[in-house]
Symmetry: C2
């Protein structure tokens, strides 16, 4: 390669390489979205060649700038950039196998499929929330590690769809409030959505909207590289506010007949149009071929921060090993041991005190012990701090300019809270948890799903987990949320029955590196049931016999959370009648399901079964069998004192005992 | 009552009556939210005495102004207003039994509990979306009926929490785009949320934010009745844009020590503080007592629009009976018969054509017939019109100023779409349906829940209902959504197996006056299975034997939607081996569950069972029993061509046949 040849490579050549790869890959797959990558190729080229701090050879560099493709349908933009800049695993074969089973180049970017894919996107607006979380993580870690170790930007590419989704407003508003000056959103302002012109559905002045949330804003011609570079430069210099750059682009730029129309959005251009685009763009190379000198120019960009990476490595080498490890994963072996010790201590205390506590209170007490031993633990709540017990004496509040804190007031923004927690977990260095009411898990369900799909350790503290919350009534009483969450693959749904189970569930959640957890907790007080605590974490197998009658079982009572104490009371009543009832607590169905059949059979017993849970039956037949009886909710709840509601809906020890009697006789 | 005494009643007296009732009721219940009603009492008094077009004696007046309390936790504001103005069923006893089991005065306003409660609120931001739907319904019906019959305002009271929720942005943006000039949002700008000062979490300039979406905005002192009245008057005169009035208020206004603090938000003030508030407000009456002259002044306000109501009644009397009926319920007996006829016709056509169609396409063909016979049917989509088949040749687009149309481009705003559809259904006169992808049901789940809780006929068209969508990959492939939706009480989840079932499901959905429906439809083509169509709607019982082998069953294959054809193929394979397999199609579990046990047992059969559905197993054990075999998804999907995915995940006729063989042998 001649240096001269390399020097002759223009911005246009480099951007066209992205466009060609995008249209060719979509055409080959006969499926996909060429419009966005072709439209944003200029902006992306400017960003990756002039600004983005990354080293393709070291994709895990903790202090790299993060690039989030929130408009995930434009995945070929990202794959093209990763291939061109020389990321590992992203060879041309992957580009050729776009959208094929088993390839790294899935229809939408999938975290974990290849280095350089910072997050899974596609469900619109999520990436904006992830980016806010990453930018927040950067500031939190910067406050702990200093500029030499953590000091990077987060860039997010968002489309019209991302900005129409409500989650974007929550994220924008939160970022503006926290003045996340190192967050830069590049808005692909192409004025086209799937249904056609954005005029069909939206008339917002996006600059004014972002400005209303305290953002720096700018608008540029997204096909003018100098203007884009200047806007990014300016945005980087505005460090007291996040920045929006609205990039006016032409969707499908280069397609002779289709550019600027919705027909380029989500379908292949067609062979003829692709040929026409080659001509119009001046790109005379065959499909999937990028000329050596253009590829070399891109590879040079992929390595241009090598010196910065090496400076960083030298600085990081001076950190002690623990601090260095925690930058990536805050729960190493030492912290894990400290968690075990803290949990053992609080279990002993709970047992000694024997107090009746709501599990939201138990959880707070557990956190009181855990926060000091897990430095990367960052708490928060969606404006229900006092109600959900997420704040401890160990916390201080994170505010704009004060990132030494470890507690975030997310505001009434459950959805952005979930997406930001995903972003923090993905960033590394942080174990995020935050709380709201269980019924409002519905408000952040798309983010919960992504926690599970991306296998991120994100802990959702969700209290007021049944009609036991009382007077707030059916809008606030979850009845179907437990089932709906248990249906999500790769998600641990925990429902501890007392303080000790609560401590054990926290232990599991913090050590589940690749599984998010929902902690469902009560508003109302619960008696201590685990009066003989053991060193073992009994919740770790998901379910266990809390009461095993001597001489075998006549009936097994299955339950979770607040209803386990009803089952215990029922067992006592039955015992008085000579009916031997086991009580099985099932704090986590998913963990129980993962045990071997022998264990499951032993716990469930071979005799008749009754289940009690203040929620709908949906899903319970798996454990109950066809002849078991379920005591629970048959529809929505009602407003009234909790005790009256339990009676009204027939969820009582008497009802459980009666059901058991009916099966035994 | 002396007229003079009545004339002497001041604004302050009337507002204080609300405050006193609110603090007394919360104190009595020892639970609730006094802060908002006390803070917004002045604004509400101005609205109800000077502007709101309502007649307490005729709460169902179709052309009444709608008042939506989006900040539903302040329910006592609404209950106090309903009592004071003399609505039926809202006597002082109801106020005294606030938040008690069985009372109309639930913790949050519950639609249907008493006249005058226009919608169920509490989950924040939903009311804003409902109000947008109501204001849209008003314009749609105005375009059809004229000013004499439909011409009213929609007022929505929203708090900080409502405006922080992302759904509010979607709703605001949609309302601004459609220029809903008769929508007026009263923002309770009290600068307090549950965690404390709103400064903790939010810094938005709300006026600028609404202005960015094309709203008229104003800010007033919410305790200055003249200023509030002027602002409302101005807002009513701005008819080319919706209006926001930010009312600066003091939360808990009148509480001597607690006003202006978060401690008034969600807890009783306490006896002492209540006494202090009585003194400070100059309200010397005992709890729950409103002096006669003040009550009389309120009752006068409740009847002040009697003449307007009578003018309206006279105009409405001139309508033909059908038009008058459709103003409330667009599906009367005649329309119902027309639906049956249209469905019978399209079923016959489907049978005659025998074409392979995706159910999203079948659905579009069904709608093509239904739109002309159900004038109140208003379609739409969240920017997936072409993909979900919601638009027909019978539609024209609703635009700002053009409300004769019947199709709404909701934009990428699934959540506001759901909430707006709830608002339209609640308004009366409209049967709303709209579409997105099934996986994005998660984005509007809180609104779906409220459709069910409020028993509203809202039809969600949700396509791309499995891995059958192919290359878009796991972010777009629902695996747990069917289970999650089936878990919601009072919701019909339909999954038709072919064109004919699709038509039958539409028939059921449109006639289910008190049940919302999720139509889950495929992206991929499906063969016609119901080759011998009957006049009967076989889907109406939720499940039925599609194939009943002669001479009894060896095995029963259960399935839904796109997998029914796999079961049919498996049955053929098994038949060739001498194994008699029945195939049961289960398009709607909820309807099947509502049949008597004898029917269910007959359909399910007493022999071994195999179920096949391209989704997680969660919930299937109810029909399968412990020994049945489930063929489906065990986790998230993958990106690739649909046919390959079905093979990859082992969801094939061969797998079904093998499972059946294993059970029969």
């Amino acid at each position: 390669m001649q240096d001269q040849a390399l020097a002759d490579v223009t911005h246009k050549d480099m951007a066209n390489a992205i466009r060609a790869l995008a249209m060719d890959a979509v055409q080959r797959a006969n499926s996909g979205h060429p419009g966005m990558p072709m439209g944003m190729a200029d902006v992306a080229t400017v960003l990756f060649t002039q600004f983005l701090k990354f080293d393709a050879a070291h994709p895990d560099w903790p202090d790299r700038d993060r690039f989030v493709l929130s408009a995930g349908h434009g995945s070929m933009l990202l794959y093209a950039l990763l291939y061109l800049t020389g990321y590992p695993e992203m060879d041309i074969g992957q580009i050729e196998r776009f959208r094929q089973l088993g390839s790294a180049t899935a229809g939408h970017p999938e975290y974990g499929h290849a280095p350089g894919i910072e997050t899974t996107t596609g469900p619109l607006g999520q990436g904006v929330g992830n980016a806010v979380g990453m930018a927040l993580a950067e500031r939190l870690l910067n406050a702990r590690y200093g500029d030499d170790i953590v000091s990077h930007f987060t860039y997010c590419l968002a489309g019209d769809g991302c900005l129409m989704e409500g989650i974007s407003q929550e994220a924008i508003s939160l970022a503006g409030h926290l003045k996340l000056g190192r967050l830069i959103v590049l808005f692909d302002d192409n004025q086209i959505s799937i249904d056609g012109s954005t005029d069909l559905a939206v008339s917002d002045d996006q600059l004014q909207r972002f400005s209303a949330s305290g953002w720096h804003t700018a608008a540029v011609d997204g096909h003018d590289p100098q203007a884009v570079a200047l806007a990014i430069e300016n945005a980087r210099n505005v460090t007291d506010r996040p920045s929006l750059i609205a990039c006016r682009t032409v969707i499908g730029y280069g397609a002779p007949n289709k550019e600027g129309t919705s027909s380029t959005h989500g379908s292949p251009l067609g062979e003829e149009e692709v040929a026409g685009a080659r001509e119009k763009l001046g790109w005379s190379y065959p499909p999937f071929v990028v000329p050596d000198e253009i590829l070399a120019a891109w590879r040079e960009a992929g390595a241009q921060n090598r010196a910065a990476f090496e400076r960083w490595s030298a600085a990081a080498a001076k950190l002690d090993g623990t601090a260095r490890d925690h930058l990536v994963d805050p729960v190493d072996e030492k912290v894990s041991a400290a968690i075990s010790e803290a949990v053992a201590g609080i279990k002993a205390d709970f047992a000694a005190e024997g107090a009746k506590l709501a599990t939201r209170q138990s959880s707070q007490k557990v956190l009181e012990r855990l926060v000091p031993v897990v430095p990367g633990l960052i708490g928060g709540s969606a404006d229900l701090t006092g109600s959900v017990g997420t704040l401890t004496k160990q916390h201080s509040t994170v505010k704009a300019g004060e990132f030494t804190g470890n507690y975030i007031h997310y505001g009434v923004r459950e959805h952005a809270m979930g997406a930001a927690m995903n972003g923090m977990a993905l960033h590394g260095g942080i174990v995020p948890y935050a709380g709201t009411f269980l019924v409002f898990s519905d408000y952040c369900r798309p983010s919960i799903r992504l926690s599970a799909l991306m296998e991120q350790r994100v802990i959702y503290v969700m209290t007021h987990d049944s009609i036991g919350l009382g007077e707030d009534g059916p809008t606030h009483q979850p009845v179907e949320q437990l089932a709906a969450l248990r249906a999500v693959p790769g998600l641990n749904v925990m429902r501890p029955a007392d303080s000790i189970e609560c401590a054990e569930c926290w232990d599991i959640a913090l050590k589940s590196k690749t599984t998010p957890t929902i902690m469902t907790l009560t508003r109302q007080g619960l008696p201590l049931l685990r009066t003989a605590p053991t060193g073992d974490n009994l919740c770790a197998k998901g379910a266990y016999a809390l009461i095993e009658p001597e001489g075998g079982r006549d009936v097994t009572l299955l339950s979770t959370g607040s209803e386990v104490s009803l089952a215990v009371d029922a067992a006592k009543v039955l015992g008085g009648e000579g009916i031997k009832a086991a009580v099985v607590s099932m704090p986590c169905w998913e963990l129980f399901d993962a045990q071997d059949a022998a264990y499951r059979d032993t716990v469930l017993g071979s005799g008749p079964r009754v289940a009690v849970e203040a929620a709908v039956e949906f899903g319970w037949r798996k454990w109950l069998g066809p002849n078991g009886v379920f005591i629970g909710m048959r529809g929505f709840g009602a407003s009234g004192p909790a005790g009256e509601l339990y009676k009204h809906f027939g969820i009582t020890p008497e009802a459980v005992a009666a059901a058991a009697r009916g099966l035994v006789v």
